[in-house]
């Protein structure tokens, strides 16, 4: 997918982060060919990020997926410079984040990027309203104005009625809604979400994911979302980057990763994943002009959306944005796509058939 240069919101170029007492020397050793394991055992330096380059397009949800220790939380903290890189470049809308002075950096955090945390990070001594208004308060917005804004976002995330509650009186899911409202209230284009839903129960998590996707339809923000859950990445991500040991393994649309995993590590993830959710009909349709079908779906519908339709119909049409039919799919085609990858063959040819032939 090509993106125009001015559509790139966040761009990280060859960012390396080494934790330890003398990161610069460690970097030289790393560039000189020392392995990460050697570096850690011999000098006590840990490589958090290893030459990570990443581009996040404006208005997209970009998911960074990795297991614990892969460096994904380190990565997201570079975007608002909660962590300073050892080397590399971080550009947000054409502006170098690393070149900012301390005061410029604070201004940037107050007005351009908002963040949601895995552990919520709410202020326990303040009410829900005061928590949601916190970012605006730091920005210097007047009390009446910021409280009105806070009430609006509390309503949006579905917490109306809890305005005066304290965080500890809320459930985990409700607390994270406060965290989300606090970030949204800042009205920044960029939203950083660090494992925002990982601490929640599965059902609540699923509800929050749906809410985020539906909010995004109207808000159209640039969201960098960190997760260790591949299903979550596929469900909400427009683009997915897979991280392992601080290095990027693969970057692409969710279905590209599911259909063409770049290496064994990613194949392991893909193996357990719900492929019907990841693959869109656009990718597998029989394209070109065809006779109109009695039922049709948009091109970015997922396989799981069309599967039930095959109970009644043999063909399902695929429509482009203007409603024109651009292709069609059959049950056989969908099943073929789902079965092609990952599934180990357990089939044996039937002896009866062999005799007949």
């Amino acid at each position: 997918m090509m993106t125009m240069q001015n559509d790139v919101a966040i761009s990280m170029k060859a960012v390396t982060k080494i934790f330890g007492p003398a990161p610069i020397q460690a970097l030289t050793a790393l560039q000189g060919g020392m392995s990460k394991a050697e570096l850690q055992s011999e000098t006590g330096h840990v490589v958090g990020l290893d030459g990570v380059s990443l581009q996040v397009a404006r208005g997209q949800i970009h998911v960074v997926m990795g297991l614990s220790g892969s460096g994904k939380s380190t990565l997201i903290r570079h975007v608002n410079r909660l962590i300073e890189p050892t080397t590399g470049e971080i550009i947000v809308y054409g502006e170098s984040v690393l070149a900012m002075s301390l005061e410029q950096l604070r201004e940037y955090r107050r007005t351009r990027v908002a963040m949601v945390f895995q552990k919520f990070g709410l202020l326990p001594h303040r009410s829900v309203t005061d928590n949601v208004a916190y970012g605006l308060e730091v920005r210097g917005v007047r009390k009446a104005e910021r409280e009105a804004e806070a009430r609006k976002w509390i309503e949006v995330v579905g917490l109306a009625g809890y305005e005066n509650a304290r965080p500890r009186q809320l459930s985990g899911g409700q607390q994270q809604r406060v965290g989300l409202a606090r970030a949204l209230a800042l009205d920044t284009d960029i939203l950083l979400m660090d494992e925002a839903f990982s601490a929640l129960d599965p059902l609540i998590r699923s509800g929050m994911q749906d809410q985020l996707v539906s909010l995004q339809k109207t808000l159209n923000k640039t969201i960098l979302f960190i997760t260790h859950d591949f299903d979550e990445a596929l469900k909400i991500g427009d683009r997915v980057t897979v991280l392992k040991d601080g290095a990027v393994q693969q970057e692409g649309a969710p279905e590209e990763i599911v259909l063409n995993p770049a290496n064994e590590h990613i194949e392991e993830f893909v193996h357990d994943v719900n492929k019907a959710r990841a693959i869109r009909v656009r990718t597998i349709m029989e394209s070109g002009p065809s006779e109109p079908c009695s039922i049709a779906v948009p091109a970015d519908a997922r396989c799981e959306d069309v599967l039930p339709l095959f109970a009644e119909h043999q063909w399902v049409g695929v429509l482009d944005a203007s409603g024109e039919q651009v292709g069609r799919v059959t049950a056989r085609r969908v099943i073929g796509a789902l079965a092609r990858h990952g599934a180990k063959s357990v089939a044996v040819s039937s002896p009866a058939l062999e005799v007949a032939s």
């Binding site: 604070r106 552990k119 919520f120 990070g121 709410l122 202020l123 326990p124 730091v138």
Partner: protein, 290 residues
């Protein structure tokens, strides 16, 4: 016997000489510098003595009620204060309370900024930790004598000795409280573009307040523990009664005045602790105790 490696007499003479020099040349300057402390102590004492006893009882019992909203603590406070009155210890108790309050206030003004400073710099902490250890472990007579030499016997050295002894726990607990604020909350605050002052006043101090209050409670208790020693150099109050009881072998006088000190300690300890619990519940660190 440990062999005599060096002659320590010149060193001792130098220390004594230096103190003598400070007393002759700087004595009056030190005294002038400590004058505000004396004024503070005298003002508090004058206020407490001028206030009618029943008003003080009403105020303290009322505060105890506000701190707990239940009857046991106000009752304890009421009985304790009545005991002081009935045993003819009221006037002395007020002097002692004034000394305790003046020492605590001064300790707060000095200790909290010092604790804040220590919490922000490992080097500052490294420097002050042994100093605080010294202040708490050095027998108080060791610094009491030079203080008396510099300021002359009276309330000032008594107050200073009390502050030296009572301030360290507040410094330590302020430092500890500020550093143990949940790092996740601090990071979130940082991510929203706060500067260090905004984080200190808006996040750290409110969340560390229960710990800081525990430090103030410790300081009041330690100040009360010093009153007998302080009375030896002219502080008056309940401590002086104890001292006289010992001197005249009047066991009853020493016993009742000593119980008076215990009673004051109970009153102030329970009230500050109750406020600490209330604050903790409000901050949300622990659950509200019904």
């Amino acid at each position: 016997m440990f062999p005599e490696l060096i002659d320590t007499r010149p060193l001792r003479r130098a220390v004594d000489g230096a103190l003598g020099w400070v007393v002759t040349n700087w004595g009056s300057a030190f005294e002038a510098a400590a004058k505000p402390l004396l004024l503070l102590l005298n003002a508090i004492e004058a206020l407490l003595v001028a206030t009618p006893w029943w008003l003080i009882i009403i105020v303290l019992t009322g505060i105890a009620w506000l701190a707990t909203r239940r009857w046991p603590l106000p009752m304890t406070v009421l009985i304790s204060l009545l005991f002081l009155g009935v045993m003819e210890l009221w006037r002395d108790a007020m002097s002692t309370t004034a000394l305790m309050i003046a020492a605590t206030l001064t300790a707060i003004v000095v200790s909290i900024p010092l604790g804040v400073w220590m919490s922000r710099s490992a080097r500052v902490r490294q420097f002050f930790t042994p100093v605080l250890d010294l202040m708490q472990t050095l027998p108080s007579f060791v610094y009491l004598i030079p203080t008396v030499m510099i300021f002359g016997p009276g309330k000032i050295p008594a107050l200073i000795a009390t502050i030296v002894y009572a301030a360290p726990p507040l410094v330590r607990l302020t430092d500890l409280g500020l550093r143990s604020v949940d790092p996740a909350v601090m990071e979130a605050s940082r991510a929203f573009g706060t500067n260090p002052t905004q984080r200190l006043l808006g996040v750290q101090i409110p969340l560390a307040l229960p710990t800081i209050l525990a430090g103030i409670n410790q300081t009041t208790m330690m100040a009360l523990a010093m009153v007998v020693i302080a009375s030896m150099i002219g502080a008056g109050g309940l401590g002086y009664q104890v001292l006289q009881g010992i001197g005249r072998l009047e066991v009853s006088r020493g016993l009742f005045a000593g119980l008076g000190i215990v009673v004051l300690a109970i009153v102030f300890d329970r009230i500050t602790q109750a406020f600490g619990r209330q604050l903790q519940a409000r901050v949300g660190i622990s659950e509200v105790r019904a």
